[in-house]
């Protein structure tokens, strides 16, 4: 009854995405004071375009991504360096290159690209080499260079995500556990020492993050207001269009980075838990795709990319709930903005492609 190509679309995950994005548009409608324009309408159009893009990607063979991984990585690295140079010439921080028809933000693309590149590296690495230094340093270089370039932009949030995405793939590739545990312990030991070397104002910033109420009008303002919005929502929220924190402008960035607080104020804990559950389902889908994939590159990529999306969600939610500093990581499908949605949809599209190839293989065998 239903044509085969349509029936073969990954409907379950698409329905999940549609649900999250639709909810996002509803929240944006409220954030604009009960208005479709300007945010909800733009967001809808974007979502449709990027969904089509993701579905197109999903039809590509996985080998294409594998072969493009390292060249694509190189292109983005060059772009990152260019951005740095242009910024240096113009003075001030610069994150994008103007291509004429669009503004390219290479650090944003670097998030999925690092996963592809590191995954490709380990896919190509002979199994016997896995327990040697040769399995570590090239990956560290692949991650470290873009990480450092993004960190000096400065963009702590994106740099952290690049690092986390790459390290995740390293972890999945099967490097010895003690490397990760040792590094983690070392970092934990260094943090207090590093803290004492920070300037007073830097220490103050860190302390304010730890206790935002100590400076409610200054640096802690965003976090304080966000917590007030979430906390005052209660279990079932103040009701659609009834949020005071967002509508009276107390909540800064209520339609972008802090959209979750806008949502929580009106939909309460119930809305928040549902949204978190929806994201968890998405992550479960990604991990399961990875688990049932045989191809080394494909499974590393699938798990790495879904973890990248996970980092978006986790960092953003921790930020709005006062568990992480304000680092400017948007909430996928909810926050208004094009480039993050593009990145996330790239991730989803590639995972879909992996999913599709896996299914095909299984059907072939079956």
């Amino acid at each position: 009854m239903v044509p085969a190509p349509i029936a073969r679309l990954p409907w379950h995950v698409m329905i999940l995405l549609f649900a999250i994005a639709a909810f996002g548009c509803v929240v944006l409608y409220s954030a604009a004071g009960g208005n479709i324009r300007p945010w909800a309408s733009n967001q809808t159009v974007r979502f449709i375009i990027f969904t089509i893009m993701a579905l197109t990607l999903a039809r590509m063979p996985v080998s294409r991504f594998a072969s493009l991984a390292l060249p694509g990585y190189a292109v983005m690295l060059v772009a990152l360096i260019l951005v740095e140079l242009i910024g240096g010439v113009r003075g001030g921080s610069q994150r994008w290159i103007n291509l004429g028809f669009m503004q390219l933000q290479p650090s944003e693309f670097m998030k999925p690209m690092i996963v592809l590149a590191v995954a490709q590296f380990y896919a190509r690495l002979p199994v016997g080499e896995l327990r040697t230094w040769n399995a570590v340093w090239p990956a560290l270089a692949l991650i470290g260079i873009p990480w450092a370039l993004v960190l000096v932009q400065p963009d702590l949030g994106t740099a952290t995500m690049i690092l986390a995405g790459g390290v995740t793939v390293m972890f999945l590739a099967g490097l010895p556990l003690r490397l990760f545990i040792g590094t983690a312990l070392t970092v934990a030991a260094i943090i207090p020492i590093a803290f004492s070397f920070l300037h007073d104002y830097q220490q103050k910033r860190v302390l304010i993050f730890l206790d935002p109420e100590s400076d409610p009008l200054g640096a802690g303002y965003h976090i304080s207001q966000s917590k007030i919005a979430i906390g005052s929502g209660g279990v079932f929220g103040k009701g659609f269009l009834n949020g005071t924190q967002s509508h009276l402008d107390y909540l800064p960035e209520g339609h972008t980075d802090f959209v979750f607080a806008t949502m929580a104020e009106e939909w309460g804990l119930a809305g928040g838990i549902l949204l978190i559950l929806a994201f968890m389902l998405l992550f479960r889908w990604g991990i399961r795709v990875a688990l049932r994939t045989e191809d080394k590159f494909a499974r590393l990529t699938a798990a790495g990319l879904i973890t990248t999306v996970f980092f978006y969600v986790a960092i953003n939610l921790m930020m709005v709930m006062g568990l992480a500093p304000v680092v400017g990581i948007p909430l996928p499908f909810m926050s208004y903005g094009g480039s993050s949605m593009l990145t996330v949809m790239l991730c989803i599209g590639i995972i879909m492609a992996i999913d599709r190839s896996g299914r095909q293989r299984r059907t072939d065998w079956g």
Binding site: V127, G128, L130, R131, T132, W133, N134, T168, F171, L172, A173, G174, P176, Q225, K227, I228, A229, I230, G231, S232, G233, G234, V235, T244, Q245, L248, D249, Y250, A264, G268, L269, G272, I273, I276, L277, F279, M280, F283, R284, I287, A290, L291, E294, K296, R299, L300, A303, T307, F310, A314, L317, M318, M321, G322, L323
Partner: protein, 679 residues
């Protein structure tokens, strides 16, 4: 290169796949764990801490503004307002809504005729101001100015005209010292009371006089307006409004008409008049002139006006009725006489006055150099003979005199609703020993009996003394209408003695005595009283030989104080009066203490006639106190070189008034030689 300590573990495709599966599941588990953590965190914030954050959200959203309560009225004994509230029109600027700052301020300056210094002040405040905190452009506008701004509102975005209440004192300067004034609370006052009302725009507290003493009762309960505001302070809508409860009305025993009359009647003198109701001690008037206009104080006085007031040698900033201390001079003679009578000296005993007498090593003079001849008590009071009192006082000593002085209210601090009062001294041997560690001498007694030396009193005490002599009861002054009072105790003096004193005091005014100038023109009403002159300089023997210099020829600060205490009608006392003119010197007949006291009392019997007389007098003094103050201010500005913009006409007018004031206060114009006495 291999990990040095790495165990020899062969990694195969299969083991790598197994490790991947395990690690991916761990990763998925971690993700689920973080998800659970986030859900738990959210539950904590929105359920456990819900109340706290709801409160915070409410305090964000709702802005509570206080509406200053209208201040209670102060009314006189007949219900006439002494202090009330006037509708006040004001214009503010809301900086955030300004479109073109300079143009808006410029057009406001034109509409409201603002002075350049005001415009500068507005610009200064606009620089500092942020957001929706209003910046005051001008208050106390006329309705026309208010309307002129209101109709142009569409062209003036960010300008907010509004209506409030401001304190108004209809009688102006004549109630300045009595009522005090109001003003915005100072930073210290706010620190002390921490009441947010104190920093609410438009709210003022009592700063002096009765306004300060009864501040609590006069302040009502503030109203409140709850409004929903955005983060930038923009008002979205009004939620609820509770209107204010005005303060209580305060009714005084003061007769507003008399108070104003007394203030005006003081003319160009630096002095004060106190009138007391003899039936119960109610204070009917307590004027101290010159004074300040409490209206201009309440609006925030200009620095120029302040400078002028504080430089004036007539000390307009001091409430002389309570805070001025003067040697009472001969006004204490009836009191001394009563002490003599009570001590058993008959009124008929005579003393022969030869113009001077020796006490110890010092020669004490009578004010009449040739002497009065033989005088009994009545004559001695009427003629204010010093020698009679020197002689008689030395007979009974200081103690009974000091005791009588205290019973008559001298040196007594009364329980009055004023921030401060100076209550003077009644000297006696014990006091002198304590204060100076010196023995009391005969000349101390001599000095005290004529109200000189250590003895000091304020004008209110003078009036109280008159009231007590008039009634024989220890009346205490009272300012609150209907206040609970214990009936005044008797002085303990015999009625016969009191009659003798009153009769002698009548002779001072009506029997050819020193107070003849104070005779009343009200049919059937005789004023009784006692004049006084208090020296502020020492007269040397050399000067005495050459002839004592007339006050008129002395600088203002060296002239004698002129005093009068008395009551009327003499045979049935209803009102008592005390009047002290600082450095009055008895130099101008119509501005001497006795006529001022007499005219002030006559207002109580025939207000119309008294006012007609006053209006005639004021023509020679340069107008009403308000007109004279305006002229003084204009002259001061000219002197300061500030008012070069005066037109020649204005200049002439100002000069003419100043000249008239000057004429009225120099005695050459109407030299009176009314120096009834000199001690």
């Amino acid at each position: 290169m291999k990990f040095r300590k790495a165990p020899r573990k062969t990694v195969t495709e299969a083991s790598q796949t197994f490790s991947f599966t395990r690690r991916a599941m761990v990763l998925g588990g971690l993700q689920g764990g973080v998800g659970a953590l986030l859900a738990a965190r959210m539950t904590w914030i929105s359920v456990a801490e819900n109340e706290k954050y709801q409160l915070l959200a409410e305090s964000n959203r709702v802005n509570l503004t206080l509406i200053p309560p209208r201040r209670g009225w102060i009314i006189d004994r007949h219900g006439r307002p002494i202090a009330n509230n006037r509708t006040d029109f004001r214009v503010d600027i809301i900086p955030d809504r300004l479109a073109d700052k300079d143009a808006t301020v410029a057009s406001l300056a034109k509409l409201l005729a603002l002075a350049p210094e005001d415009v500068e002040k507005i610009h200064e405040q606009l620089e500092k101001a942020a957001g929706f905190q209003p910046v005051q452009v001008s208050d106390n506008l006329t309705y026309e100015q208010y309307a002129a701004v209101s109709v142009r509102l569409s062209e003036l975005p960010g300008v907010a005209p509004s209506q409030g209440f401001s304190r108004f004192y209809p009688a102006g300067a004549s109630v300045g010292h009595l009522i005090g004034y109001v003003g915005t609370a100072s930073a210290e006052e706010y620190k002390e009371r921490k009441d947010p009302l104190l920093i609410t725009p438009g709210y003022k507290i009592g700063k002096d006089g009765l306004e300060r003493s009864f501040d609590k009762a006069l302040t009502g309960t503030p109203g409140a307006k709850r409004v929903e505001v955005t983060a930038r302070g923009k008002i979205v809508r009004e939620l609820t409004t509770r209107s204010d409860t005005p303060g209580k009305t305060l009714q005084l025993t003061i007769d507003a008409g008399l108070q104003e009359y007394a203030g005006r009647r003081l003319g160009t003198q630096s002095g004060s008049v106190v009138v007391i109701d003899c039936s119960n001690g109610d204070v009917l008037a307590m004027a101290s002139m010159p004074s300040f206009d409490p209206n201009s104080f309440s609006d925030g006085i200009g620095s120029l006006e302040w400078e002028m007031l504080s430089q004036d040698d007539h000390v307009p900033l001091r409430n002389k009725a309570l805070r001025g201390l003067y040697p009472p001079g001969s006004t204490v003679k009836p009191m001394v006489a009563l002490a003599l009578l009570e001590a058993g000296i008959p009124a008929s005993d005579r003393v022969s006055c030869g113009g001077a007498m020796r006490v110890g090593n010092t020669l004490f003079h009578c004010h009449k150099r040739r002497g009065h001849g033989a005088l009994d008590m009545r004559g001695a009071i009427a003629q204010s003979c010093d020698i009679y009192f020197y002689t008689m006082a030395l007979r009974i000593g200081m103690e009974p005199i000091a005791a009588m002085a205290r019973r008559l209210g001298m040196g007594q601090q009364f329980d009055l609703p004023f921030p401060s009062q100076s209550y003077g001294t009644v000297p006696d041997p014990a006091w002198k020993m304590k204060k100076y560690n010196e023995k009391w001498q005969a000349y101390d007694t001599v000095n005290a009996t004529i109200g000189q030396g250590y003895m000091l009193a304020n004008p209110l005490q003078l009036a109280v003394m008159a009231a007590r002599l008039a009634t024989g009861r220890m009346l205490t002054p009272n300012f609150l209408m209907g206040a609970k009072r214990t009936p005044a105790a008797s002085l303990g003096a015999s009625a016969e003695h009191l009659f003798t004193i009153r009769e002698a005091m009548s002779a001072v005014v009506n029997g050819g005595g020193t107070g003849g100038a104070g005779r009343m023109t009200i049919p059937g009403v005789l004023l009784a009283g006692k004049t006084g002159t208090a020296q502020v300089r020492r007269i040397t023997m050399a000067e005495r030989r050459a002839g004592v210099r007339r006050d008129a020829s002395l600088p203002f600060k060296l002239r004698d104080h002129a005093l009068f205490q008395g009551f009327a009608p003499f045979d049935n006392p209803r009102y008592a009066v005390g009047c002290i003119l600082e450095h009055g010197g008895h130099t101008i007949r119509n501005q001497d203490s006795a006529p001022i006291a007499s005219d002030t009392l006559s207002y109580l019997f025939d207000p119309q006639k008294a006012t007609e007389k006053l209006v005639e007098l004021e023509k020679t003094w340069g107008g009403t106190p308000a007109e004279r103050m305006a002229a003084q201010m204009a002259a001061f500005r000219v002197q300061k070189g500030l008012e070069t913009a005066l037109t020649p006409d204005q200049m002439n007018a100002a000069n003419a008034t100043v000249a008239a004031v000057a004429n009225a206060s120099t005695p050459s114009a109407n030299e009176s030689n009314a120096a009834e006495e000199q001690d």
